[in-house]
């Protein structure tokens, strides 16, 4: 929750800050918001009343369900607009509280949509907008118009229209009559004072409206707490998996390239010693050293590629996954229908596929693997399907658990369905920005 509030902060010239409120743009954006909210509230009152009564009335015939669904989508959209509007005009940032929509069928998405408490809080907010808007409109327009009329009194006090006196006219009996210059000046001072009052009243009403928006359009306290907890665990797991990754790299270097280089140095040392006495033996040793060096190079290359494949950064997911598929011992069909994405998203997706391919080939004994990567709005969906033995359990395999951790670190989700006898479907969903 961020309430970008400039007022109230103590500083030099506090009194001037109070008096200058009517001149600050924030006051005027808030004024516009408060005046417009009556119209917006009324419009929603009409839309919602029509949609909901029509929908429930027609629910016996299927059209009603359609109308209700449409109304629901409309108010969710309205709430989104309202969040932006509140942010632009009132300076209150209201974060989206929505549960992520699954990439599944229309019916699944509709269920998640209707089951999300945020959807119903959106409705409550839009219903509340009208009565609130009414109050805001009356108070705001009254205060500003009186203030402005008084403030401008010196300009027009001398033009009394026929039979009428300029000033604040209440029906037939004028309670306040301004027709001399001193009176007009007094009125102007009063108007200026009222401007300050109006400005602060507007600020106050805007703050109330902002608080209502935060409460109804923003995430609930419970949601925020759950989010903090989820972030804490995912951070811990990300730290753990980074640690495990470092240990793995160290081990791979130690067992692989390092040993090969030791053997190479040994061969070369022996060859050097034999150079004079046994040239044929020395030649053979140099040959061995040569082979050893080439194997060390190949191992280092594989290791580097496992840490971060260069082609992924240079050419994106499609190229990197194709290369991965080409190296797989099991035939892999690849379908990537997305362009370039942010780096962390691309590399997470890449490692999901890499791990799933390794598992399918190594443990499941698959004969055929399919990889599909597609984007559903701001969700990237990675699916790896194999026809192997199935029975994969993310709770036991460290590879799959590592993947789940990796995904959690980017707010993603991993689901593995792997009934005994297969097929195994590894599915990862990760937000990829909009």
């Amino acid at each position: 929750m961020t309430v970008e509030q400039a007022a109230g902060t103590a500083g030099g010239g506090g009194i001037w800050r109070v008096l200058a409120a009517p001149l600050q743009p924030r006051t005027w954006t808030a004024t516009i918001y408060l005046l417009v909210s009556l119209v917006v509230g009324l419009a929603w009152q009409i839309i919602l009343a029509t949609g909901l009564t029509l929908g429930t009335g027609l629910v016996v015939v299927w059209v009603g369900v359609f109308v209700l669904a449409l109304t629901l989508l409309a108010w969710r959209g309205g709430a989104r607009l309202e969040r932006r509007w509140v942010r632009a005009m009132l300076g209150v940032h209201v974060p989206d509280p929505y549960r992520p929509l699954p990439a599944g069928s229309l019916w699944q998405r509709a269920r998640v949509l209707a089951g999300d408490p945020a959807t119903w809080k959106d409705l409550a907010y839009l219903v509340l907008l009208f009565p609130l808007g009414l109050v805001w409109f009356v108070v705001t327009s009254f205060l500003w118009s009186v203030a402005l009329v008084l403030l401008t009194a010196p300009v027009w006090f001398w033009i009394p229209p026929a039979g009428q006196s300029p000033g604040f006219d209440n029906g037939q009996q004028a309670r306040l009559l301004i027709d001399t210059l001193p009176e007009a000046l007094v009125a102007a001072v009063a108007g200026a004072a009222l401007c300050v009052v109006a400005a602060w009243a507007v600020r106050g009403m805007a703050a109330v409206q902002g608080a209502v928006a935060l409460a109804l359009l923003g995430p609930s306290q419970h949601q925020l707490k759950a989010r903090v907890e989820a972030l804490e665990t995912s951070r811990d797991r990300a730290v753990d998996s980074a640690e495990a990754e470092r240990r793995r790299i160290e081990r791979d270097l130690h067992d692989g390239a390092q040993q090969r280089l030791v053997a190479l140095a040994m061969d070369l040392g022996m060859a050097r010693a034999k150079l004079e006495s046994d040239p044929a033996g020395a030649t053979a040793l140099v040959g061995e050293a040569h082979e050893e060096a080439k194997r060390a190079l190949a191992e280092l290359r594989d290791l580097a590629r496992g840490i971060h494949p260069a082609v992924l950064a240079d050419r994106g997911l499609d190229a990197a996954i194709s290369a991965l598929a080409a190296r797989s011992p099991v035939p892999v069909g690849v379908e990537v229908t997305t362009g370039r994405l942010p780096g962390p998203v691309e590399s997470t997706a890449y490692f999901v596929v890499a791990e799933a391919l390794t598992n399918a080939a190594k443990h499941a004994g698959a004969a055929e693997i399919g990889v599909r990567i597609s984007r559903h709005r701001d969700l990237l969906v990675v699916e790896v399907i194999d026809d192997g033995a199935g029975g994969a359990d993310p709770a036991r395999g460290s590879g799959l658990r590592g993947l789940a951790d990796r995904l959690a670190a980017v707010d993603g989700r991993l689901t593995v369905t792997s009934p005994p006898g297969g097929p195994t479907v590894v599915r990862a969903e990760l937000p990829c920005g909009s």
């Binding site: 080439k294 190079l297 260069a310 190229a319 290369a323 080409a326 190296r327 035939p331």
Partner: protein
């Protein structure tokens, strides 16, 4: 043959220059980045440019882009790209302008001095040298109906060596068979894949690579 070397690691650049000089190839210039390569080719008009893919300032595929630029400015320049990793996608970019006078090899191949020098000469003469790992990636790609499945294991070997850019004689030597036997395999492969018979080695490489890439 006159060669320009573009490689940012001084150690490797000097090593390459020495290796090429020992092999009787004249190294006319050594540079350390992409713009340097383009300038050196403009200035020296070499027969061949040996280029590292990853170079400063971006350390991504700088060398590849510079090579394509060279190709555009001075089309007669043969290009041999060396890389720490070979990926089919880079090969596709490089080969998009035709496989004549184009090489794409893993850096490790430099260690096999004889083979490497042969590849340098082949590319300099307008031939092709495609890394076996790229060929393996191309062959490993799945197609909906895979005509490669109809090839015998021996024919697949021959196809791979052809795709690497090797001549009949070289293929025969590698597989320890006669040139006549290689020719027979080749005509059988072209028949099975439905490719028109190619008049020259260069054309043949082009045909095979085009086939594998699509």
């Amino acid at each position: 043959m006159r060669v320009v070397i573009a490689e940012d690691s001084v150690l490797l650049r000097e090593g390459l220059a020495r290796l090429l000089a020992d092999g009787g190839v004249e190294v006319v210039a050594q540079v350390g980045d992409g713009p340097g390569l383009v300038a050196a080719v403009d200035a020296y008009r070499p027969d061949l440019a040996v280029v590292d893919v990853r170079m400063p300032p971006s350390h991504t595929d700088e060398g590849l882009r510079a090579a394509l630029q060279v190709r555009e400015r001075v089309p007669a320049t043969a290009i041999l790209v060396l890389s720490q990793y070979v990926e089919e996608r880079y090969a596709t970019d490089l080969l998009a302008g035709g496989a004549l006078g184009v090489g794409y090899l893993l850096k490790d191949r430099v260690a096999d001095v004889g083979e490497f020098l042969a590849a340098v000469r082949r590319v300099g003469d307008g031939g092709a040298a495609i890394d076996p790992e790229v060929v393996a990636q191309l062959l490993g790609r799945r197609r909906r109906t895979d005509p490669l499945a109809s090839l015998s294991p021996r024919e697949l070997d021959v196809l791979s060596l052809m795709a690497e850019g090797r001549s009949n004689a070289a293929i025969a030597e590698r597989l320890v068979v006669t040139e006549g036997a290689v020719e027979k395999h080749i005509s059988s492969i072209f028949g099975k894949l439905g490719l028109p018979a190619a008049p020259s080695d260069h054309r043949r490489v082009l045909a095979v690579l085009t086939y594998l890439r699509t």
